[in-house]
């Protein structure tokens, strides 16, 4: 019987893929979210459904950490 898993398909550039992989590795085993790495260069991956929002938030936070806004 064909096996089927629900999740989120991610396509991105190499640096972002490394960022996501690092994020996955930094979590305890019970919270890791990468189901399959689909390409050798890791630009495509399949992750658990709950990870979508978590990754978005992490990317936004990462982006904010790398920018400076003058106080008004």
């Amino acid at each position: 019987m064909v096996n089927s898993i629900k999740g989120v398909f991610i396509s991105c550039d190499v640096p972002m893929a490394q960022f996501i992989a690092h994020l996955n590795n930094s979590l305890p085993a019970s919270q890791k979210f990468i189901i399959q790495v689909l390409k050798l260069d890791t630009t495509s991956m399949f992750v658990k459904p709950y990870a979508e929002e978590m990754i978005r938030d992490a990317v936004i936070k990462f982006r904010d950490e790398n920018s400076y806004a003058k106080a008004n």
Binding site: V2, S4, K6, V8, F9, S11, I20, L38
Partner: protein, 452 residues
């Protein structure tokens, strides 16, 4: 029946969408007939005038002889337009084929109008009343100021300050297609809203008037009456005073709304009240294509991302605030800066980098507009780069399939997913598949049939 699909770009398209009974009622007004005649394509004008005193139907084949061979497509467009507006009735007869005849109501009223000359819908009040009327320049300043106040209120519904007399329910109708109604942050300008602000005044005005007309029946007003009055208004002379006592109650109420939009100015004397049409009102029956006047630019953009807008306008300040950080607001100068954060606010609202760049180019100060490029390249490039930075990760809800029993089943599944446009990724060596979630149910049923 008409082959041209009606997309309402001007009044006449709205007229064309009215039912036949209302159209006949509309054509009882000679000024409507004249306005519509003016709006027709050139060939259609010719046909109407040529048939103005012909009471019998004219065969279609005879009309085709009136044009040269290379005019066939224009002929077709003209005929379709006349049929849409029900100026022409199409009569089909088995023996004689198709014929066209003029709408009798339209025909009679146009004949009367031509014979009696261009009498105005109503007489201006005579100057003996010692009325002090605003000059044309004052009137134009008033009209644009009213319109700008309206636009400010339109895009700042969150502000408590009420700038015009338009009711909040009416304002919500106007905002329907322009602001998103997210509950958390309150209404915010959408991509369509920003596009609306980029339009020239006549196009903006047309959009608002169209929403006003489309909403008429909810206010127990007949849209045909409203269209009739607005077209009639466009025949009044700009700057002349007209007594309010010649108007019906519905027309009076409409006029109050129009005053808030800047189309008319209301004034009161000791005995009489009167209205004065502005240029905005007399432009109503003008086709959008005719208004090609370009606003003068006011924006100076520097290579260090600082922007100086030489404008006294609050509205322009609010527009700039959508994508730039306002730093100083002086009486006739707005100093601001394009920053990553200010642009991300714009991108979050659905405003695109192309729209922002187009806005800056179109509003470039005359001193800068002649330079090539008018907006420094490092600025436009950076705006686009910041936008693409938001799109580095693409996420799609999907299902992952593996453990296929055979190569044939795997390849059939891939083909099936491709047909449904759901295939995201495949690995034929290890027989693994990723398919969009929308297609999962179809895939499951397909795989069941394969296992039988």
């Amino acid at each position: 029946m008409p082959q041209v699909k009606i997309i309402a770009k001007n009044f006449m398209d709205m007229v064309a969408s009215l039912p036949a009974i209302k159209l006949d009622k509309l054509y009882n007004n000679v000024f409507i007939c004249e306005a519509i005649l003016r709006s027709l394509p050139p060939l259609a004008k010719k046909y109407v005038l040529q048939m103005l005193y012909i009471d019998v139907p004219v065969p279609a084949t005879m009309m085709e002889e009136w044009v040269l061979a290379d005019g066939t497509s224009k002929h077709r467009v003209a005929i379709d337009r006349l049929i849409q507006l029900r100026i022409f009735s199409e009569i089909s007869d088995r023996k004689r084929g198709t014929s066209y005849s003029l709408n009798p109501t339209f025909q009679n009223n146009l004949q009367k109008h031509i014979i009696s000359g261009g009498v105005l819908p109503r007489e201006p009040m005579n100057s003996d009343n010692a009325i002090k009327l605003p000059s044309l320049q004052e009137l134009e300043t008033y009209a644009l100021k009213q319109w700008e106040c309206f636009l400010l209120q339109l895009i700042n519904s969150g502000q408590g300050e009420k700038l015009t007399g338009i009711s909040s329910s009416m304002m919500k109708i106007f905002q329907r297609g322009l602001l998103s109604q997210r509950d958390k942050d309150g209404p915010r300008l959408t991509e369509s809203g920003f596009q609306f602000l980029l339009m020239d005044t006549n196009a903006q005005l047309w959009y608002i008037i169209r929403e006003y007309i489309l909403n008429a029946e909810e206010r127990d007003v007949d849209p045909a009456d409203l269209i009739s009055f607005l077209l009639e208004l466009s025949f009044h002379v700009t700057g002349q005073a007209y007594n309010l006592n010649t108007l019906t109650e519905v027309q009076n109420n409409t006029l109050k709304d129009l005053a808030d939009l800047g189309l008319v100015k209301l004034q009161q004397g000791r005995k009489d009240s009167w209205f004065i049409p502005t240029k905005l009102a007399t432009n109503l029956s003008v086709s959008l294509a005719d208004s090609s006047a370009r606003k003068e630019g006011f924006v100076v953009m520097e290579t260090n991302f600082r922007m100086y807008a030489y404008s006294t306008s609050k509205l322009q300040c609010e527009i700039l605030r959508l994508f730039a950080r306002i730093e100083y607001q002086l009486p006739n100068l707005i100093a601001c800066a394009i920053t990553k954060e200010s642009l991300y606010n714009a991108f979050d609202n659905g405003i695109t980098s192309d729209q922002i760049i187009t806005f800056l180019q179109q509003n470039s100060h005359p001193r800068c507009a002649d330079r090539v490029p008018s907006i420094p390249e490092n600025v436009t490039d950076q705006i686009r780069l910041w936008e693409t930075d938001l799109q580095r990760i693409e996420m799609t809800q999907a299902h992952f399939y593996d453990e296929f029993p055979s190569k044939d089943v795997f390849e059939a599944a891939c083909d099936f997913a491709r047909e449904w446009r759901g295939l995201l990724w495949e690995d034929s060596k290890r027989m693994r598949l990723v398919v969009k979630s929308e297609v999962h149910n179809q895939m499951r049923e397909f795989l069941h049939t394969q296992s039988r």
